[in-house]
Assembly symmetry: C3
Homo-oligomer: 265 residues x 3
């Protein structure tokens, strides 16, 4: 579900769960494992110079035209409370692993990136998105899901309180240029260059004086990591919300709409 591609000191983790890189419990765990492996290998030989075998920075990419459609709602609708609990637990663990990654992670947003797709990118170091008829946004509310506080706080950290309120309450999906203007992403490049550009940006970070860069990264991201200090009660609240009539009905309507669209296509 994760393809590993090495570009010198930069390791690309490519989401590979067709057709939409929907975040199933398995994909969430696979990405967490890939991040942990990269961190382990990076620390393997302290004191040695960077080498192609040891990653010094990461790129998180998706498929051309589709970074990730977010949580795999059709699948999740088949799970009981215990299954959903596990999913949220592992999803929060993945977000924390991105926030606290000892290696810089550049998101190569290769296409659509709604809800959970956008959320993954929030916790990376940089967000580079493909130009084109793609949408990105925090549309959780439109799917019937209240925005989890740990995710809202990450949006606020990135774009400020006023814009975060608008983005998360209204739940708009927007084109790359609008996302760039509001600060949800950092750069827009032609679609066929988005991975290449992300690899270059990651390589540039990897080439900086390591101790100074590490210290400054930890300093700048400490607030992001700290968000995860007390998320136990939050996961329970998300669970309660998940099984309300409104949320279930809105998610089922969404799944039916998507199924009809696929049938019509």
């Amino acid at each position: 579900m994760i393809e590993i591609l090495e570009h010198g000191a930069v390791r690309e983790l490519r989401l590979a769960r067709p057709p939409a890189n929907a975040l199933s419990p398995e994909l969430i765990k696979a990405l967490s494992a890939a991040l942990a492996a990269a961190a382990r290998e990076a620390r393997a030989e302290p004191g040695l110079p960077a080498s192609p075998e040891r990653p010094a920075a990461l790129v998180l990419s998706g498929a051309p035209g589709m970074f990730s459609a977010g949580l795999d709602v059709p699948h999740l609708l088949t799970l009981d409370r215990s299954g959903i609990h596990d999913m949220w637990h592992h999803f929060y663990g993945l977000l924390r692993a991105l926030a606290a990654s000892p290696l810089p992670v550049v998101a190569a947003i290769t296409g659509h990136s709604p809800a959970g797709g956008a959320v993954l990118a929030l916790y990376c170091d940089l967000r580079i998105m493909a130009d084109g008829d793609f949408r990105i946004g925090l549309n959780e509310v439109r799917v019937g899901l209240p925005m989890p506080p740990v995710i809202f706080a990450a949006v606020r950290r990135l774009v400020g309180s006023g814009p975060a309120e608008r983005l998360c309450v209204g739940g708009a999906l927007m084109p790359p240029t609008a996302a760039l203007r509001v600060g949800l992403i950092d750069e827009v490049v032609p679609q066929d260059q988005v991975v290449e550009r992300a690899v270059a940006a990651a390589a540039e970070l990897a080439a900086l004086p390591r101790t100074a860069m590490d210290y400054t990264r930890r300093l700048a991201r400490a607030d992001l990591v700290k968000l995860f200090d007390a998320t136990g009660a939050e996961v329970e609240a998300m669970l309660d919300a998940w099984f309300t009539a409104e949320t279930q009905a809105t998610m089922r309507a969404l799944v039916e709409r998507l199924a009809r669209k696929r049938g019509a296509a």
Copy 2:
């Protein structure tokens, strides 16, 4: 002093105190009462779908060309300490009611919006302003008034610390495009469409899955509401400032300048 106009699920509260919608103690109380009434009616029949009779979102509008000129300084200059105390008390109560409104409020900034006019808009969910030769800004300092901390914090929340310092210390009034650029407002539309656009934006918020939207709104606006936790001492400080020689002289000079301008027109 407040005209009520119903647009389906959206209720428009239109400031109607000619010529400038200056915020007198009476207008402040009337707007507070209208907000409270809308909140009461919205809660009247829990569980029922939205209906034209029950507002699900609000629009706060003014007169064409003049949203609100801010506090009614000529009138306030005739009040003693007790009268000014009551005014600040009720004004803070109004701002808190906007911040904590259970219904989303979209500001339709139909024209000029200096000082107190801009302040009302700060506490709304969205700010849509009429294009044209209008000015908006936090020019309290230019009127001789120190910026109240609870208002400064709301500006900072909306535009960030750096821009908030510039806007509030310098006290510049600016055209809609500049206000949009700095994030003081969210959208600029032709003057004859500003109410219509605000009603549409409010209707869009009203149509979102209600529980998810309510939760996310409360989460996103909790910091704004919290600002009002301890404003007793602040009101006293504003009172002291109000009766200093500098503030009184600056306000009187302003009132004379406005009177001469009207005489000349």
Copy 3:
């Protein structure tokens, strides 16, 4: 090392340490002394109107084409731990004096402004930069220096958490237009007008109702001043970092590169 130029109520403090206004311990102390003198004189005759003899606002400027190259690394490399300790102690004192200045300070960024040059401007009230082929940025990491927390927090306050992370971790130097877009500076004007424009902006601040402006400035800048409450441990950490092999090697390589460049020119 500091030229004093009086422009009515505005006093210009012009950095005058050729060729690059590099911040040596002496220049740091001279600028601190000039700020303290201006604050003393401003307070000398309370109650009297502003006069050309008593400064009411300050401009901090540099040489045409070079605001300040930042810390004087070649000189600092000759100092021992005690010398570097004194330098950091005095540099933090200077930054705090700018943050807490009772007089507004407008930075006239007359040209290049990397690292320590940009840092001085962060703590001013406004930043007006010369248009042209100049660079500004927080490139400490590229010089091998971890970003001091008190400086990172000032960047974050000015541009927000997301942009601050990018600017400080990546350490990019950027042209004035890019710095304006991210909010690191407030205005870009033709090079031959930068001091004149800064003086006009300072005069405008000086002409505001004084009590209201002072109160609002203190309110808006309280967070910036508060950053310095506990920087003792921070100075020790910066000292440790300064003498690591990585930092020393990176700084020496920089100095050699600059020397070669000068030799080639």
